[in-house]
């Protein structure tokens, strides 16, 4: 089936199938798990950013009435030096295990050191106070550039910098260094008419999902473990838990409960092995829910960064060379997010010569994890700044300049990858043609407009789907991708479209790890794309089996049965899908379609753009968003409302990242803003309506042309806001967040300069 028009189901906006459960409070999220004999767990966390654990005395906690078990890192199996890739990028197993419960050292304030379970959560909390940990406090490093210096406090004494498969042997906080190079950047820069170079810093931010991490586990007497949790990937949670506990995955069943947001932060495990071990020790099911401060202090922030961008262009407006230096915080343990930044930093433009030099740096903050288009937002903020400056220097309209240099089908990125069919130009053209862009820019005092362009690729990975045909012609679909934003429905829609069924006749459910084939994480903008593909393939499997049933009934050969528009026919005989479903019992019993995919072709990418109008309060530096438009290439929007929802949600997060959000550590390395009061995410009052324009440049690699839309939308907002602020006050900020104090300082500095110039 080719992507195009003429769809019956795709592109419509049905009410999501899990909707009623979610508006009535009946949907069961991880924290809602209730079991008989349930115990409640709590985790003790290090107050020190960097310390050696000298001893832990749990005897008083154990003696507290109501306490059922106490756990420390010493209780976890010793892990060897294995490298594992368990759904969140390659990692050393020891690091993964130590992040669950520290053994020798704590590497950030909030690092778990012990856990307790008791008959209620208050007793568990009291017990934590009775655990005596003796620390030797070590010097901590929380600043990225400080951490990179020689002589900086070393987090992992045995860690040496890895350079693309080569161990440099240099002990350092630089975990990895790599480079992409294309063409001859030095010569190209020398030939450029204009070269601009700038430096940027962005703060550590958090994914900010409203639902805290949680896990409930039951370790049965027969050694079988069941874990109920809110996770982006039940199979990844199973694999990680199995690895940390050193037990085979066959012993673990992960039941994915409804999940209250993840954005990349619920791919890693934190509480699952602890819940399992506490259950083993107590013989009862144990539930843990992280406190909100713990969520901020110890889970997935996304990296703060230090970036330098240099770009050169010709007088005729062509970018000829680009260079990026990107250093990312990976937190307490090495991570992999800078690699994605490298793929995104110049991905919007066609540039023949370039160098991208990247560093992944450990420091005393929680281990960084993915956050929606991980790495792309920081990179986009930096690149778009320089793009705007180049356009201004050359006297070319910034949108025109982007169009002139836009990446397109066949563009070779600096990391070497050649683009298949891509919607970059189309997204830029959609800016140009939008009502917002054509309307007069706000012209009041301290008002301005900015535009920006960002990118994120999709990943394929594995998905499985089974489809059971009921004898009334409805279909029960089982899949393994946890549904964070309505994906059950978009998957059911692709199935329904394939067989011309009514979408309400296809009910999708997310099932546990014992009930479906391996399915990778909900992340990488892959669910609607890859699990949708599995649904499409399982529909074709159903179709083939149903044709055989019709052939039996009509006593013809199967190749004499046709299927079109939901009707099976052969000669003058015909059955609708529903009618034929009524004859399954007499033709061999149930029909179950199944499919698995692991696409390694056609995984496209998606471009997103913004137009932002702002007003800056000259007295406080506070930025108010007056109007905001997000444009994104969806390939083909399966359920446009949920595509818009992704675009609006990513925009809101991007605006928060731009204007407010940052981790604020005190001099002792403790997080000072670990509540929603102090880590301020946008509220309804901070935002205007977010206008959406869906561009559809079908992905030739997907049966319906789908491109994942979950992520690219968070990349451009900070850059657009920076542009709008620059237009409003004449200063282009090089640091995130552009919080009131920074904006005010920038205004005053530029006024000071203007006064000097006027006076001079």
């Amino acid at each position: 089936m080719s992507a195009g028009n003429g769809y019956k189901v795709i592109g419509t906006r049905p009410v999501r199938h899990d909707g009623v459960d979610k508006v009535t409070g009946r949907a069961v999220y991880g924290g809602d798990t209730r079991l008989s004999g349930l115990l409640y767990g709590q985790v003790l966390r290090s107050p020190h950013a960097h310390a050696r654990i000298k001893s832990i005395d749990i005897s008083k906690a154990q003696a507290l009435p109501g306490v059922k078990a106490v756990l420390t890192g010493a209780d976890l199996p010793k892990t060897g030096d294995t490298i594992v890739d368990l759904g969140e990028g390659p990692a050393r197993l020891k690091y993964m295990s130590d992040n669950v419960l520290a053994t020798d050292k704590t590497l950030y304030s909030g690092h778990p050191v012990a856990a307790v379970c008791a008959s209620n959560v208050h007793i568990a909390e009291e017990a934590l106070d009775l655990i005596e940990v003796e620390y030797e406090v070590l010097e901590a490093v929380l600043n990225l550039r400080e951490a990179m210096k020689e002589g900086a406090p070393q987090l992992h004494p045995d860690m040496t910098t890895q350079e693309f498969g080569e161990d440099t042997g240099r002990t350092s906080n630089l975990a990895t260094h790599f480079q992409h190079k294309l063409g001859d950047p030095d010569t190209a820069f020398a030939s450029a008419d204009v070269v601009i170079e700038r430096e940027f810093n962005t703060a550590t931010v958090h994914q900010g999902y409203i639902e805290p991490h949680n896990a409930t586990a039951m370790w049965n007497a027969d050694g079988q473990i069941t874990i109920w949790t809110s996770t982006q990937g039940s199979f990844a949670a199973r694999a990680q838990t199995g690895a940390v506990l050193d037990i085979p995955v066959s012993k673990i069943k992960v039941v994915p409960q409804e999940i209250g947001g993840g954005f990349g932060g619920k791919i890693p495990i934190y509480l699952e092995p602890i819940a399992a071990m506490l259950s083993k020790a107590s013989g009862q099911p144990v539930k843990l829910i992280m406190t909100r401060p713990a969520v901020f202090e110890s889970t997935g922030p996304t990296p703060g960064s230090h970036i330098k961008i240099k770009m050169g262009a010709n007088k005729d407006g062509k970018i000829v060379a680009a260079e990026a230096y990107i250093a990312f915080e990976s937190g307490a343990y090495p991570g992999g997010l800078v690699g994605a930044a490298a793929m995104c930093v110049f991905s919007c433009y066609d540039i023949a010569n370039g160098l991208i030099d990247c560093y992944d740096v450990v420091l005393n903050k929680p281990r960084s994890f993915a956050y929606r288009a991980p790495g792309s937002t920081q990179a986009c903020f930096a690149t778009e700044h320089v793009v705007e400056l180049l356009a201004a220097e050359l006297g070319i309209d910034p949108l025109e300049f982007r169009l002139k240099n836009s990446a397109t089908t066949g563009t070779r990125r600096i990391d070497g990858v050649v683009y298949p069919k891509m919607g970059c130009k189309e997204v830029l053209e959609a800016i140009r043609d939008s009502e917002h862009y054509k309307s007069a820019a706000p012209s009041g005092p301290n008002q301005g407009r900015g535009i920006s362009l960002g990118y994120w690729f999709n990943v394929g990975l594995q998905s499985a789907c089974t489809a059971s045909v009921n004898n009334d012609g409805t279909v029960s679909l089982s899949e393994g991708s946890t549904d964070i934003g309505g994906s059950r429905t978009s998957i059911a829609m692709q199935f329904a479209e394939t067989l011309s069924l009514d979408v309400d006749d296809v009910r999708a459910q997310v099932v546990d790890t014992d009930s479906i084939g391996h399915t990778d994480v909900t992340g990488g903008s892959r669910v609607t794309y890859a699990t949708g593909w599995a649904a499409y393939k399982s529909a074709l499997d159903v179709q083939a089996q149903m044709c055989e049933r019709a052939a039996q009934l009509w006593e013809v050969e199967v190749d004499q049965v046709a299927f079109e528009e939901g009707v099976f026919s052969s000669g003058d005989k015909s059955y609708t899908f529903k009618e034929l479903s009524g004859h399954l019992d007499e033709t061999g019993g149930p029909v179950i379609g199944r499919a698995t995919v692991n696409p390694d072709s056609g995984v496209g990418g998606s471009f997103a753009a913004n137009i932002a109008d702002v007003e800056v309060d000259p007295d406080t530096g506070k930025v108010q968003v007056l109007r905001f438009t997000v444009i994104q290439d969806a390939g083909k929007a399966i359920h446009p409302s949920y595509v818009e929802g992704q675009m609006q949600g990513g925009s809101a997060q991007g605006i928060g990242w731009a204007l407010n959000e940052e981790y604020y550590y005190n001099k002792d390395g403790q997080l000072d803003n670990s509540s929603y009061l102090d880590y301020r995410i946008p509220t309804s009052l901070d935002l205007p309506m977010i206008e959406t324009i869906i561009v559809e440049v079908p992905n030739p690699g997907h049966p319906f042309g789908v491109r994942g839309v979950g992520e690219a939308n968070i990349a451009p907002p900070p850059a657009a806001m920076a542009g709008a602020i620059a237009d409003a006050i004449g200063v282009r900020l090089q640091e995130l967040p552009m919080k009131p104090s920074n904006v005010l300082a920038a205004t005053q500095a530029s006024e000071g300069q203007a006064a000097l110039a006027a006076g001079g």
């Binding site: 508006v23 809602d32 209730r34 409203i210 805290p212 309804s684």
Partner: protein, 159 residues
């Protein structure tokens, strides 16, 4: 710790429970009484996921002790729909795709109902102002605000 006997009304049903003085209303609703529709996002009054009404007043149930519920009337998300069907606010949230992960949704529904109970014709700004105590990280609020605007209309039309 000895427990205290509390008599209260939840979603128009007379209800009794025993609780420790230190337990919050949220904790008792969720863990003791099984009203898990009311969610916990922060446990410190900053996210609104635990919104319920107490004698018609919108509160964060994580900030109130359960013992204070004595003699009061509490409404939770579970009380919004009736056997005839969903409340217009619930219906509008579904039709406007005003939820993604849905963890914030019960709080928004309860808060929106409280808004419409006292201001049946709120402006966009009044809605944004009223709902500013309810955090949503998924939607960017656009569809939520539109859903409340429409629900207000439906409620007025049927009044």
């Amino acid at each position: 710790m000895s427990k205290i006997h509390v008599q209260t009304t939840i979603n128009e049903e007379a209800t009794e429970f025993l609780c420790e003085p230190r337990e919050s209303l949220l904790e008792v609703l969720r863990e003791t009484l099984g009203f898990t529709g009311t969610k916990e996002g922060c446990n410190d009054g900053n996210c609104g996921a635990c919104s319920v009404t107490l004698d018609g007043v919108l509160i964060d149930s994580c900030l109130m002790l359960a013992v204070e519920a004595e003699g009061k009337s509490i409404s939770t998300v579970e009380g919004l729909a009736n056997p005839e069907g969903l409340h217009p606010i619930q219906q509008a949230f579904l039709e406007h795709a005003a939820l993604q992960c849905g963890i914030c949704t019960p709080g928004f529904l309860v808060a929106s109902k409280a808004l419409l109970d006292h201001n049946p014709e709120p402006s966009e700004h009044e809605i944004r102002h009223w709902l500013a105590g309810n955090l949503c990280r998924c939607t960017g609020y656009d569809k939520i605000v539109r859903a409340v605007l429409e629900a207000a209309q439906t409620v007025r039309a049927s009044a």
